[in-house]
Symmetry: C2
Subunit: 277 residues, 2 copies
Amino acid sequence: MTTSHPFDEAMALAHSDLRAGLFSGATTRPYWNMVGPFGGTTAAVMLQAVLRHPDLLGAPIALTVNYAAAVGEGAFEVQATPVRTNRSTQHWTVQVTQADAQGARQVTTTGTVVTALRRETWGAADLAMPEVPSPAQVERVSIGPKGVEWIRHYDMRPISGAVPAAWDGSGHHSETRLWVRDDQPRTLDFCSLAAMSDVFYPRVWLRRATPVPAGTVSITTYFHADAAQLAEVGTGYLLGQATGQQFRNGFFDQTAQLWSEGGQLLATSNQIVYYKE
Amino acid sequence: MTTSHPFDEAMALAHSDLRAGLFSGATTRPYWNMVGPFGGTTAAVMLQAVLRHPDLLGAPIALTVNYAAAVGEGAFEVQATPVRTNRSTQHWTVQVTQADAQGARQVTTTGTVVTALRRETWGAADLAMPEVPSPAQVERVSIGPKGVEWIRHYDMRPISGAVPAAWDGSGHHSETRLWVRDDQPRTLDFCSLAAMSDVFYPRVWLRRATPVPAGTVSITTYFHADAAQLAEVGTGYLLGQATGQQFRNGFFDQTAQLWSEGGQLLATSNQIVYYKE
């Protein structure tokens, strides 16, 4: 039996020269956002290029993606380059480019990835999962601006801090908690975890109860789980939490955490977001 | 009158071709760490290359630095490249290289920087400065491992979470609060703020009261202040706070904040750190 998951379609990369790390992909309809693909899938596909590279060492530890320009509908290229390989860590640079109207390649997205071999060590969780109702007790919501497709491809259940029901300027905090998983069940992996780190709508909308234009400029995600732990989560829900920290002169930062339903902190993520007015 | 500040010496960059963004610098004794320069100065000098570039647009918003290998004592080159310039934002890639014994250039450090023109907008601070005693009420501490020079070049006053007095495995939290400023007074700027984002010793030492080998792999700093606000802070103290979040299988992340003494959140920073055992 073969089933095609829309996320796997978004992650599909062809290559003319695998060792050169040059891949070609294309935006897909299910993960379309307002003026380009969902930033989470762009981050995930850059990670995917690294994971597909034959010289890969270990598993992802850190991913930074800078959204230099909106990715246009259609084909793009991803270049993943292992710039330094040590005994147990490896450092990558990644770039997404698209041809402009004149056929010249323009950089739309830059990034860096660190991968590493992980060894079993002492460990501790200093950020406990908040106590929240179970996914079954929370209603699914799929409201988004018109034309935004990707939201329908996640099963999102806001526990608190949902998109304001009224844009009346009444906001007074910037924290959202929600359960999230792929709408069509799919076993969690590093790419889908990278994408889910970016499912939170702009904190400034919640903080101000005002829908000002906003967009992620740069996101950094740290992976605390290995492939086995992600596989264990399977198709289960993740608890996501996102909070704004400082809003000033056109930019704010938001910090996010993703726990497994069992309470394991799988990823922590931070982003800086442009906003208007 | 000319006074030479050790931090300015660490930030000194020569250039053979300014527009090409290729600069040469050198490690300095005052900011030496155990097996290379203090990572904060490496991050700062990469930002400095961007700030010196003639095509610079605006001021720093985000800085990510990946420590691929220890920088050796002596000369290094920094390449800062503006890969995309938009109307109000600009995206940079940065690399530090050093010649190896055979004269071949090796990448020691990679990074990305986002700069932007900032406009006055609505703003809010959702992360209030904790209530702490004033710098004058807190004793300065300058204890560090042998051979570590850079610690003496910061006036650091731990309020809580100082380096454990006894390595007895008794740790139970990972939060440090301290006042910090340059030892020799120097007006705060983006480079020194970038460096100070990395003054916190590894959280794993505090959490375990055990001095295991540890080193930053990647750091991301977001700048919430403009140049005028930094100049206003002048030579004053910053309140720094750092907390570990998840420690697992050789890596942990720590989140950090830097406020002005007046309570303005100037920068937020996150890093992922390698540790042993």
